[in-house]
């Protein structure tokens, strides 16, 4: 992945539908060979964005650049990019082989070369060679995913876009394909831009995540950074379960700060974010930099971890998650104290 030359550059891209603005002058740079996931809730504008990027729609304002070429006025069938659709959009009247060969046939590649490439791609996608002559309706959901990917790769795009292609699959298959997709990205070295509403999917696969909200990018950063240092309450909450405490002049209600922590947050105003897994039960008179006291309200077994809902003395609710071996005996009603290090918390400085 090159840090210098972006393969895709979006400048002040805007899309309006009558009175409604779906995209508000957004900017984005995607590097060659990068796996970027664009995540956001329904209506955040991610589908509108991908439709503009692949050329299915025209922007109201702004520009899209592929390397040094402006492409926002180029029709979709002339762009060197292609997309794996949410529905996969395989051609039901064609065999697996014919589907994969479709972009090559359009380019008038000789039949024997087309077939050789299709067989290569079947191998790459770990599909048996005899699938070449199978009908699409004889393939399972996961196999269809692979055929759609193979067809897109046969096109040999500069950028491969994905519009939530795993959303209709069951959990186990989705997890398996997430890993395969990441692996495929590594093996092909192509630039992948992946639209999803599933944060988990984005975190497993991507190099960077762009979080969208109401037609704007809220934060664009690697998954660890977004998870540990979200720039807003929205991102913090979108990235999974989180405890948020308003902090005014260095004091947060329901939290006892050690002198070191108080000076760390020195007079700050904003929102203090504490991830549930950063918290640990404290024993006896033990203190942490941030200490929370309350009673266990509920306890949920999550497999290797146990999640607790704790009602704090000030009435706030705290969610804590600990490894099963560190679970607190006693169950609901038990008075507990929990703590975490100031370094494990993050201060969201917003109005």
């Amino acid at each position: 992945m090159s840090d210098t030359t972006p393969i895709l550059r979006i400048n002040a891209l805007t899309k309006t539908f009558n009175e409604f603005t779906a995209l508000h002058a957004i900017d984005l740079k995607v590097h060659d060979g990068e796996f970027l996931a664009i995540v956001g809730p329904s209506g955040s504008g991610k589908t509108t964005l991908i439709r503009l990027l692949v050329g299915m729609d025209e922007p109201s304002d702004g520009s899209i650049w592929l390397r040094d070429q402006r492409i926002d006025e180029m029709p979709a069938n002339k762009r060197p990019t292609c997309m794996v659709f949410q529905s996969l959009a395989l051609f039901p009247h064609m065999t697996v082989g014919q589907n994969i060969e479709f972009p090559l046939k359009l380019r008038k590649v000789a039949p024997e070369d087309r077939k050789a490439r299709a067989l290569e791609l079947l191998d790459l996608l770990r599909l048996p060679q005899d699938y070449y002559s199978k009908r699409i309706d004889q393939c399972s959901g996961g196999e269809r995913q692979r055929v759609a990917l193979a067809r897109a790769l046969a096109f040999d795009p500069e950028i491969l876009f994905f519009d939530e292609p795993l959303s209709a699959l069951d959990y186990r298959l989705r997890k398996a394909l997430e890993k395969e997709l990441k692996d495929l990205h590594a093996r092909t070295g192509k630039t992948f831009i992946y639209i999803t509403h599933s944060l988990e999917e984005a975190m497993v696969m991507s190099d960077r995540i762009a979080i969208m909200r109401a037609g704007r990018f809220e934060q664009i950063a690697p998954a660890e950074e977004i998870y540990a240092r979200p720039v807003s309450r929205f991102v913090a909450e979108f990235m999974g379960e989180v405890n948020l405490f308003p902090i005014r002049a260095g004091q947060a209600e329901g939290v006892t700060l050690s002198p070191a922590a108080a000076s760390a947050f020195g007079g700050a105003t904003g929102t203090l974010m504490v991830r549930p897994e950063s918290l640990q039960f404290l024993e006896g008179e033990e203190h942490a930099e941030l200490t929370f006291a309350g009673r266990i309200e509920a306890e949920y077994m999550l497999g290797s971890r146990v999640q607790y809902t704790v009602t704090l003395e000030g009435g706030q609710t705290l969610i804590a998650e600990v490894l099963r071996e560190n679970a607190m005996p006693g169950g609901p009603g038990t008075p507990v104290r929990l703590g975490c290090a100031a370094a494990a918390c993050h201060l969201i400085a917003e109005a």
């Binding site: 069938n77 959009a89 972009p103």
Partner: protein, 284 residues
């Protein structure tokens, strides 16, 4: 319980099934029986006589069959070409206007075919709407537009348009939008999308519409009589003449059987060859 439901279902369906079988088979069997009678003799206990079929070849009735089938083929092709964009609009573009268009097209069926064709006669004849206005405005007229093969084909196209339009619209509605978009995204031109995606996926609608129009056009008589005059004699005209003026029922029946055999055979062959489920990829 399931077995009882099945038996009840069969029982309820039996009267209608019997009616349909009889109303379909009985006339064909009757006509087939008449076609094997000796000419000018009405004898139910006769020995089968195929002389009427010999007359079909000897007297050149095959020309009428050829005209009927040829004009039916041309009309079907024209119907397909003019109905495709309209059906596409109805299935994918027009939205609310589709209902208006549907009502408009269906309403023409509320008026008898003969009356509608007479309307065209008054429009196209010498001294009719078109020629009359031409003479009035430009001081010169012409012989009218009737009594030729194109006017018969025009009549067939006009009368059977709904039979192509609606199946075609159904067929086009079955083409998934994202398949079309995916083809475009993969570099296909508008023409390539039509050829590679839309036509194959709309094939069931195309097949049903084409068969309906071809079969109905091949057996049509009013268009050739009213718009075509004596320009060409179609096979249905020959059948009518044999049964009425000619009083030669075996010949009329034999001609009808030939038409039924050709058109029915073509229809069965077409449907048999076309695996509709496979065409649209729905066979599991």
């Amino acid at each position: 319980m399931q077995r009882r439901d099945r038996q009840l279902g069969l029982l309820y369906a039996a009267p209608l099934t019997l009616f349909l079988v009889l109303s379909f088979l009985a006339p064909i069997l009757l006509v087939a029986g008449f076609s094997t009678m000796p000419a000018k003799v009405f004898d139910l206990a006769h020995m089968p006589d195929f002389s009427a079929y010999g007359e079909f070849l000897r007297q050149g009735y095959w020309k009428s069959v050829a005209w009927s089938l040829g004009m039916a083929l041309v009309a079907t092709l024209i119907l397909f070409v003019i109905c495709w964009p309209l059906a596409y609009g109805m299935a994918k573009v027009f939205k609310r206007f589709t209902l208006v268009l549907t009502i408009g097209v269906v309403m023409t069926l509320f008026v008898s075919e003969n009356i509608r064709l007479f309307g065209w006669v008054l429009t196209l004849m010498k001294g009719g709407l078109i020629e009359g206005y031409m003479r009035h405005w430009f001081g010169t007229g012409f012989d009218g537009l009737l009594y030729n093969v194109p006017s018969i084909v025009f009549g067939l196209v006009y009368v059977y348009l709904p039979f192509m339009l609606f199946p075609l619209a159904q067929g086009i509605a079955m083409v998934p939008d994202d398949a079309r978009q995916a083809a475009y995204d993969l570099g296909a031109t508008r023409w390539q999308i039509l050829r590679e995606i839309e036509l194959p996926l709309a094939a069931p609608g195309i097949l049903v519409g084409s068969l309906l129009c071809f079969v109905l056009s091949a057996g049509a008589i009013a268009e050739s009589k009213l718009l075509g005059g004596q320009a060409v004699i179609v096979i249905a005209d020959e059948v009518e003449t044999a049964f009425t003026y000619g009083q030669n029922w075996p010949l009329g029946a034999a001609l009808a059987m030939v038409l039924i055999a050709i058109v029915g055979g073509l229809a069965i062959w077409g449907i048999g060859r076309a695996d509709l489920d496979r065409m649209i990829g729905r066979k599991g």
